[in-house]
């Protein structure tokens, strides 16, 4: 498994995952910068993503939709906040209506991607932060995708929310 570390914090409304890839940062960067590669992995196999826009500049927007098993479409948007090839990328991710227009009443998430060259590859850290607990609940309650495992995890992880081990995340 490529994921080497996961931290969740309910108080900081943050999920942080660190993964190790066997390719240099310049290559890993392309899975974000090239919409054709992006759509190969953003949506799960049963909800593949199609990016209709991908204006990869600061303040530029991306628009996408994910197509469900019944042909239903879930639309979303990104806004690129900062781009520092090939080491960091920050963008906001939100929901759009059926016509692909950003829906401001829906939850927005900020994603920070950091790529670091390591011996033989890249360490990528993705930190996603929700604007509020309420927004986080909404996203989860909407059941963004199906096929999730309902594994009951460690109680301590939830309860550790107030004492994140890595306050810098």
């Amino acid at each position: 498994m490529t994921v080497i570390d996961v931290t969740t914090s309910t108080t900081e409304r943050t999920l942080t995952l660190t993964a190790q890839f066997g390719a240099p940062p310049e290559r890993v960067w392309q899975v974000w910068s090239d919409p054709r590669q992006l759509e190969l992995w953003w949506g799960p196999p049963t909800w593949p993503a199609t990016f209709v826009d991908h204006d990869f500049v600061v303040d530029g927007r991306a628009g996408y939709y994910m197509t469900g098993p019944e042909g239903e479409k879930a639309h979303g948007w990104w806004r690129f906040v900062s781009i520092d090839e090939p080491s960091s990328l920050v963008f906001d991710d939100g929901f759009s209506d059926d016509d692909g227009r950003p829906d401001e009443s829906m939850p927005t998430m900020r994603a920070r991607v950091e790529l670091e060259a390591t011996d033989g590859g890249t360490r990528m850290t993705v930190t996603t932060t929700y604007a509020s607990i309420e927004e986080m609940e909404k996203v989860v309650a909407m059941g963004m995708v199906e096929g999730m495992t309902g594994a009951a995890g460690q109680i301590d992880v939830v309860l550790a929310g107030g004492r994140p081990e890595r306050p810098d995340c």
Binding site: M1, T2, V3, V6, T8, T10, T11, L15, L17, A19, F21, G22, A23, R27, V28, V31, R36, Q37, E39, L40, W41, W42, G43, P44, P45, P48, A49, T50, F51, T67, G71, M124, V126, T128, I133, E134, M136, E137, V139, V140, A141, G143, M144, V145, M148, T149, G150, A151, A152, G153, Q154, I155, V157, V158, L159, G161, G162
Partner: protein, 120 residues
């Protein structure tokens, strides 16, 4: 699956209840062993009434249950609900684990595959 059984409103209550440090601490304590409200109050620099309010919030979220025994109100943890909250967080994690796994697959390929994302 636990999440399916958890009503949306219920999920809201659980997350709101766990958003407070004192309440998380109370849940941690009473999951280990039941404790009276009076005893809980002695751990915090706040009034008995304030602690009682925190317990009431946890009770509404069904994270704890309260029983009267004699003159004492005993609080105990409700493990299933806490697990359900964790399952909700796990969902988010699973979304990203899936994505990272697919990125890994993509990087392992010499040539990008044809676009699976196009509607058929």
């Amino acid at each position: 699956m636990v999440v399916d059984q958890l009503e949306r409103d219920q999920a809201d209550l659980v997350f709101a209840a766990l958003s407070d440090g004192t309440r998380r601490d109370i849940v941690t304590r009473v999951l280990r062993h039941e404790e009276s409200v009076t005893s809980l109050a002695s751990h915090y620099a706040m009034s008995f009434a304030a602690v009682q309010k925190h317990v009431a919030v946890l009770e509404r979220a069904t994270l704890v249950t309260k029983q009267r025994r004699g003159r004492e109100q005993l609080v105990s943890g409700h493990v299933e609900t806490v697990r359900a909250a964790q399952a909700l967080l796990d969902q988010l994690e699973q979304i990203w684990r899936g994505r990272l796994g697919r990125i890994s697959d993509l990087l392992d390929e010499a040539e990008p595959r044809p676009n699976r994302g196009e509607p058929t």
